[in-house]
């Protein structure tokens, strides 16, 4: 019997042979990677070209994933399947017709907004959230049609609830934690988490310090107890990981993530003027070789093997299988 899949629901590392080898050492079968924050369509194409270059250069370590079957292919060939996603709909600019074009290129996740208001929805840092826009409703329907996952990790509360409601297919919060555990703007209310679970969506737990109680000092026990608690609210089958690992990135990258080209000042986002850079990851999750720590922590808080396997990849795999193809194939 094949071992259960190990899948991470979001990373944005400074990609290198070292990291690709760590993915293999850590036994990561599939990974959703962010390929755009504030990029235009043209800039995204350049990012895809860079990924193609890595695929060509490291064919024994990684390959591009298009369907859930590629997770099995990854396991069989001892490689990591890389699935593309974007944290911002800037990549479709003002053209709904780019949704199927990007799906053809393998884009499998797209956030409706990144912190700010987008053409589609409101971001979690805006003061006012008017919910989905006219274009937002149209684009969600198109994403549903082709099989591109609606991700609302950085969206505001009302927009998130409306996206869950409006989408005809389950959506994802690829990387966030419950706000009841740590009240960050990026973390999600119980109302959102309950609606997500009821609609069949998936929550990927984040190990990014700004989303953790006690930040970088958060203990593995605290993190895993929070997961166990969330399982009571949402059900284990709705839970997964989205570590938000940003390994080896220089601080200029977190500046780009936060400030893009939309402000002339520096927006510190979850950071502050005193701590403007990337925070230090918790000791129990430094890189892709550390998923075993999380598995051990989940066992320690009382989860049985099947639950641990579901959270570490089984739930994402099932979600991938029902999400990445056209609606007509369902």
């Amino acid at each position: 019997m094949r071992r259960p899949p190990l899948i991470d629901g979001l990373q944005y590392d400074r990609w290198s042979e070292k990291i690709f080898r760590q993915l293999r050492e850590g036994g990561v079968d599939a990974l959703h990677v962010t390929i755009a924050y504030h990029e235009t369509f043209r800039e995204l194409a350049a990012n895809i070209a860079a990924w193609n270059h890595w695929f060509e250069r490291y064919p024994d370590l990684i390959f591009q994933g298009f369907s859930a079957d590629d997770v099995e292919r990854a396991q069989e060939s001892g490689r990591t399947a890389i699935f593309f996603g974007a944290q911002n709909p800037s990549i479709i600019e003002d053209e709904i017709g780019l949704v199927p074009v990007l799906h053809r290129l393998g884009l499998r996740f797209m956030q409706l907004s990144y912190n700010n208001q987008s053409l589609l929805a409101t971001g979690c840092y805006e003061a006012e959230d008017a919910g989905l826009t006219r274009m937002g409703r149209e684009v969600i329907a198109e994403m549903n049609r082709v099989g591109m996952v609606v991700d609302v990790s950085h969206s505001a509360e009302r927009s998130t609830l409306e996206a869950i409601e409006h989408s005809t297919r389950p959506i994802a919060i690829t990387h966030a934690n419950p706000a009841s555990w740590h009240p960050a703007r990026r973390n999600k209310s119980e109302r959102v988490l309950r609606a997500l679970a009821e609609s069949g969506g998936v929550l990927g737990f984040s190990a990014y310090p700004h989303h953790l109680k006690n930040g970088s000092a958060c203990s593995l026990d605290e993190f895993c107890a929070m997961i166990a608690h969330t399982a009571e609210l949402m059900g284990v089958e709705r839970l997964a990981l989205g570590t938000d690992l940003c390994q080896d990135q220089p601080d200029s990258v977190v500046e780009w993530m936060r400030s893009g080209r939309w402000t002339k000042r520096i927006d510190y986002g979850e950071g502050s003027a005193a701590a403007p850079g990337f925070p230090e990851m918790p000791a129990w999750f430094r890189d892709n070789r550390d998923f075993g720590n999380i598995a051990a922590g989940l066992r320690k808080v009382g989860m049985v093997e099947g639950e641990v396997a579901a959270i570490l990849g089984g739930n994402w795999l099932r979600f991938f299988a029902s999400s990445f193809g056209p609606a007509s194939a369902l």
Copy 2:
């Protein structure tokens, strides 16, 4: 037994339900369509979005073709497989990495130049032809690797010969005729045609009046006699059709084709100030229902059924099968 495939190697019509229905009436199984003349990458994406819209709207008439197998699928389902191509490398701008991105989107043909000098090669209207550029050699190698056909229909003589020589896979002249029959700048020398044939490439005969002896008045007999004569030079297995049909296009489109954004004046190309628009197609090829005329004409000049079938589609099908996949699969 399945009937032989009917494949046209180039059209740029003003697409409409009427034309898609004529493709079915005419029994056209596959078609290489031009989706860009002077477009940038971003503009090309909008053109693909327009095609996606047609595919969604007329699924019983057309679908996008990606591999030679799709020709069989077209025959089985009574539809026309549409294969994308560009007449100009403007679509990759200055970035070789866009070649695999566009291949993923289904681009199966790309001309190295369109009348003018490009970043890759010289066009047939330039006074000087310095042959392939540095980037041209790199891009041909990349096209060879992924399975995108090098098309030199609008390229100049030396660039064309160097492309045939440099390409590790057979290339195509999708739409042109022998210059010895009608000495247009767009038609090809015997030297080029011989080199193309020896390398395993394919020539698609054009029915566009500026490429025909006597223009719009060219008779079917003259056209088919020219094909029979070219068969003696190149071998029947190297010959196909590329009608260059531009059905229902307004004259503003031929202006875009010729002048793009590269001149402030009007460039008349193959036309003239006295006849600046699209020429009238010959009486024996008005639209996609007229391929039977060409088949009859080829029989009349003495071709046997197998030869007619090869020219009307069999040769393109074999070429598609060996050209559209990655070199590593050969």
